[in-house]
Amino acid sequence: MVTAIDSLWPAEIEVPDEETAPIAILKQQASILGQKTNNLVEAIVQTKAADFSRFMDHSFILVAPALNFYRYPLFSVQHRADKLYPVTIVKQSSFEGAGVTSKKIEAEDEDQFKGVLKNIFADAKTKKVVGALIKQSTASDEIAPP
């Protein structure tokens, strides 16, 4: 016979409410991108464990559904699993030349993090990638007569 054991957990579990979690901000921004592009370019956030589960790693990936769901990883965000901030943003800055280079940007708190995201979204390369994906998504296979 199994003996019932009382809950050993404290009555209250503290959930930080003064800060927005990085993943929530990323998911909101992913949703807004879809709205701005008529869902021709969407973004998804994929989370995995890093550094033997001490860190969480959220990848922000552009997806073009009409291009056979082509995926373009834009950047990733890492933070300790037990703390929301600070975060490290890892941006793949170039696929040109010999290989991929990545750039790390630190953000101490939510405001800094939002500032970094704003800069990444406004970056000429980001706009170029999103624009190219929209253009290709609506490219008709009909060849215009000469």
């Binding site: 008529n38 869902n39 559904p65 009409a66 769901f69 998504s137 609506t138 296979d141 009909e142």
Partner: protein
């Protein structure tokens, strides 16, 4: 939930489609012969608050757009002619949506081949139902067969019968094997005494046997979904706003949108 199926015949039907979708407040669009998935998506979402998402059909020659997120419509099966999805919306019963565009009668080699493909579709649906543990299944698409043809009506194919009363019996046993029913309301869409056009496809050839009107675009409902299916809401659409999509002769006007009209139906889930 409102569904629309349309074989758009490789036309750029985006503006007509988006008008129909808006007018009838459609939640899920299934297209066959869709050449420009992205352009259609842009048209559907142009000026819309509640935007559509393009879902992944793999290699299947149908395209599905949903107003809800892709995470609520998960693939269960893809092949060249058939895609089967689980639609699982919060607080609503899960359903299986099977969408098909079976090979055209114009290009098929024989009736046997058509029957074989229909039998394969039936088996794929049964496997998905067994895996998911329910048979709240709807099959929609251009099946390129009439409801009375063997591929649709025979027990070992799709087994789609013409009345609810028969379908609610769920299955029948033939030579020791149990075969499950679909209800096919499209049986009631033939001829000029219906509220819609006499069929979904018109053809006039010099063959000895010519029906002229065919019902190739169909909606098949499993008995487990019958309580959610509204017969009165089933429509073959021939208008877009005030504009008729038919030729003055009554046949679908391929120059306006497509050579077949769209089919609208509702599941009250």
């Amino acid at each position: 939930m409102k569904f629309l199926f349309w074989n758009i015949n490789k036309n750029s039907a985006g503006s007509v489609l988006s008008q129909i979708v808006s007018e009838h407040e459609v939640d899920l669009v299934v297209l066959a012969e869709c050449r420009d998935e992205g352009e259609i998506l842009a048209s559907l979402n142009s000026g819309a608050d509640d935007r559509f998402h393009l879902t992944d059909s793999g290699t299947t020659r149908v395209v599905i757009y949903t107003r809800f997120s892709r995470s609520f419509i998960q693939p269960e099966h893809h092949d060249d002619y058939l895609t089967i999805r689980r639609i699982c919306l919060t607080g609503r019963p899960e359903i299986l949506l099977a969408a098909a565009h079976l090979p055209s009668r114009l290009h098929r080699k024989s009736d046997d081949e058509q029957v074989k493909i229909a039998r394969g579709a039936s088996e794929s649906i049964r496997k998905c139902e067994a895996r998911t543990g329910h048979s709240r299944t709807v099959l929609v698409g251009d099946l390129n067969m009439n409801p009375f043809e063997k591929g649709l009506s025979s027990a070992d194919t799709l087994h789609a019968v013409m009345t609810r009363d028969i379908a609610v019996q769920k299955s029948r046993i033939v030579l020791g094997t149990e075969y499950h029913f679909f209800y096919n309301p499209m049986w009631g869409c033939f001829g000029d005494t219906t509220k819609g056009p006499p069929g979904t496809y018109y053809r006039r050839k010099s063959d000895l046997l010519e029906y002229f009107w065919y019902v190739f675009d169909q909606v098949l409902i499993r008995p487990a979904l019958l309580d959610y299916f509204d017969n009165e809401a089933l429509q073959i659409l021939t208008r877009c706003g005030e504009t008729s999509l038919l030729h003055p002769s009554g046949a679908p006007d391929a120059t306006r949108a497509s050579d077949s009209p769209s089919v609208l139906f509702t599941l009250k889930i």
